[in-house]
Amino acid sequence: MDLTLKVWRQNGPQDAGRMETYPVSGVSPDMSFLEMMDMMNDQIIRNGGDPVAFDHDCREGICGMCSMFINGEAHGPNRGTTTCQLHMRSFKDGDTITIEPWRASAFPVVKDLAVDRSSFDRVIQSGGYISVNTSGETLDANAIPVPKGQADDAFSAATCIGCGACVATCKNASAMLFVSAKVSQFALLPQGQPERATRVQRMVEQMDKEGFGNCTNTGACAVECPKGIDLSNIARMNRDYLSASAKEE
């Protein structure tokens, strides 16, 4: 396959940035999207140029590091797929593909397609945990039975990979899907109950402080989420937040 790539180049957070065009030829349909990017960079390096910086690591859809906005969609055209799992068979010979970074003020560009998502870490640090010491001297694991349905729902919420596709997709750059997934995981488990109210309050507060936008219920985040995190998590978070705030007063 021969392709034309239009790639966002930006030399750090202060640079204005611009699109640049790169032709690539000899792309195999079995390549992953990132292997196609490797091939492009190989050509750039051999020609003495500056390769395109992008984040990636596990290349099997679980670490959440890869983050490309491809033809106007987070992680490209396929549902339930991260960029690293997207294969070139999803494109046609002769296609022009635009590749941009996640765009959100809470995710400043590091270089080209790589962005800084440390705001997500700070949201988790604000309360995304159960306060238990790691002594191992806790209850026997089977002393806390959890109904299977509830356990499965908690697991589904917990499968969020923290990639930020929800933020990149949202017209308001809202992080509600990400935050609500963690809030829900613990809200659904007995172990998460003691801190349930303070957790949601702190995490929402931190989320706002980081400059993420608000949720206007368009649901685009859930459509583009590579792990299928459900929109109902946001409803649960809103409910918990409201009731926590009401109790406080």
Binding site: S28, D38, C58, R59, G64, G128, L139, A151
Partner: protein, 665 residues
Amino acid sequence: MLESKIPSGPLAEKWTSHKDHINLVNPANKRLIDVIVVGTGLAGSSASASLAEMGYNVKAFCFQDSPRRAHSIAAQGGINAAKNYQNDGDSVYRLFYDTVKGGDYRSREANVHRLAEVSTSIIDQCVAQGVPFAREYGGLLDNRSFGGVQVSRTFYAKGQTGQQLLLGAYSALSRQISKGKVEMFTRHEMMDVVVVDGKCRGIIARNLITGELERHSAHAVVLASGGYGNVFFLSTNAMGSNVSAAWKAHKKGAYMANPCFTQIHPTCIPVSGEHQSKLTLMSESLRNDGRIWVPAKKEDAEAIRKGTKRATNIAEEDRDYYLERRYPAFGNLVPRDVASRAAKERCDAGFGVNETGEAVFLDYASAFLRYGKTEASIRGLSNPSEAEIIRLGKEVVKAKYGNLFDMYKQIAADDPYETPMKIYPAVHYTMGGLWVDYNLMTSVPGLYATGEANFSDHGANRLGASALMQGLADGYFVLPYTIGDYLSDDIRTGAISADSPEFEAAEKGVQDRIDQLVNNNGTIPVDDFHRRLGRIMWNECGMSRSEVGLKQAISDIRTLREEFFRDVRVPGSAGEFNPELDKAGRVADFLELGELMCKDALERSESCGGHFREEFRTPEGEALRDDENFAFVSAWEFTGDPSESNLHKEDLKFENIELKQRSYK
């Protein structure tokens, strides 16, 4: 001298009595002590969180943009623990025994027993943290079985167990970061360790965004930097996984133990072409229910390779379920090294089933039927049709392994619910690593290694679902105790200065290497060298090894290393975000490690576990150990040239387990 410091006394009491007698640091003094932890996977995050909770000042480092992305996240199948929830006769002793036997009797009894002892606490701890393990309808935890054992002791969270455990450890770490007890350095790479007066006292780190070098001092340093499977270029490791932290420590005096012990995992998606950048694992848990086969007739295999026949066209009696045939007692659940070699044997004999001839089938058809029948019975369906049974069976399989089946479909563009998966062995894990004593301290005082970065628990072959167990055992329950014994001497030391000549010299060494790479003016990109190194390693130091091949490999690697330093092209500068420069530094280290691995494989004139020397095999083609001459750990001391490394031997004493020819028949 190598001193393993294994406590005396009966095996089952060693750890408890050791904990009772080692020195402690009182809470007020812990506040005066700094510890650096490199890596934030299971071993690193758990260690950082635990040390900070205890009161130490922790600095944690990872090269990723967040600690949550460390490669433990990608572990799929599960984590072992001797809970015996399934009432199938499991016990701490059995987990210990299975692990030593699975490792082909090349691990330390005392370390493995400790691992089995603390395994149960891991599950309790993780549940308390809110890790959503799979549960049964009664609300209690579910288990599955894994290779090399005859009990069900593996806890899991679908095919995402590593992710859930790491997020648990990350949450514990995040809690300590929020308290200010851990200072977290993301997008930082450890470039060297600093040794002052014979003790490890800090590291040189590089800020990967700005390129700046930083000096960080501490009273002790913990390397939880993972394994080195990426020396093969193609592996199931993440792209960034590297040996550099461990290798830099090795060059500063830490011995590298059993570097040739590499795990080749039997069930990975086969290589599809030259462009391939990494391989994807299909969890071993799939061998629970899937059956592995190739056609029994060569002409059928050829027809499948040409595309004129499909797996579903091969009649039942024309299929060779070779694992069930060769190993009736364990069948598809033999350990990984055995399963991998058996796949290679069939493919080398001409029975492979994809275009390259390097693939076998993993078939779920009989599992669909089996689960479907049970499900139909639960639902009280009378006389269900076969189609109905299969449909129900697929639903059950989807609930258990859905994400793995989806992943296969995305990568291979083939629907595993309809046709069997094609799989082939790939590099997955390294049992070898930094030599550590019972306290997890390397041969450099004050420098520790945990998790995959050390060599201690898995011998010559790791059993499935044991890597997660070891990472968390080391980080939550072993290191936090044993490090106190060493640090108790440091309560009056005060803060360690980062202005000493040792720090100065280490920083200069790092700067010189970086300057050399960016100013090289070569013509060939880093990946090109990495691929070529990988090919040498896979062909000569992979699933089977020989004296002739290993000698050739050593010479080829030396030539390649010279070419690398002559002609590698690293674009950009040192003072900016420059992923190619990061990669170049790591590949330079792999180019040295590869040579040591081959040397280690050459010196070990026996076959054991994943180390299969063609010259040493039983008449049935199984690995032939030589306990008389090789029941030892090879610990290599760096002398300036990998081929000239000094060998130190730690004899392995088996006082509780009788050494036997490993049999899974």
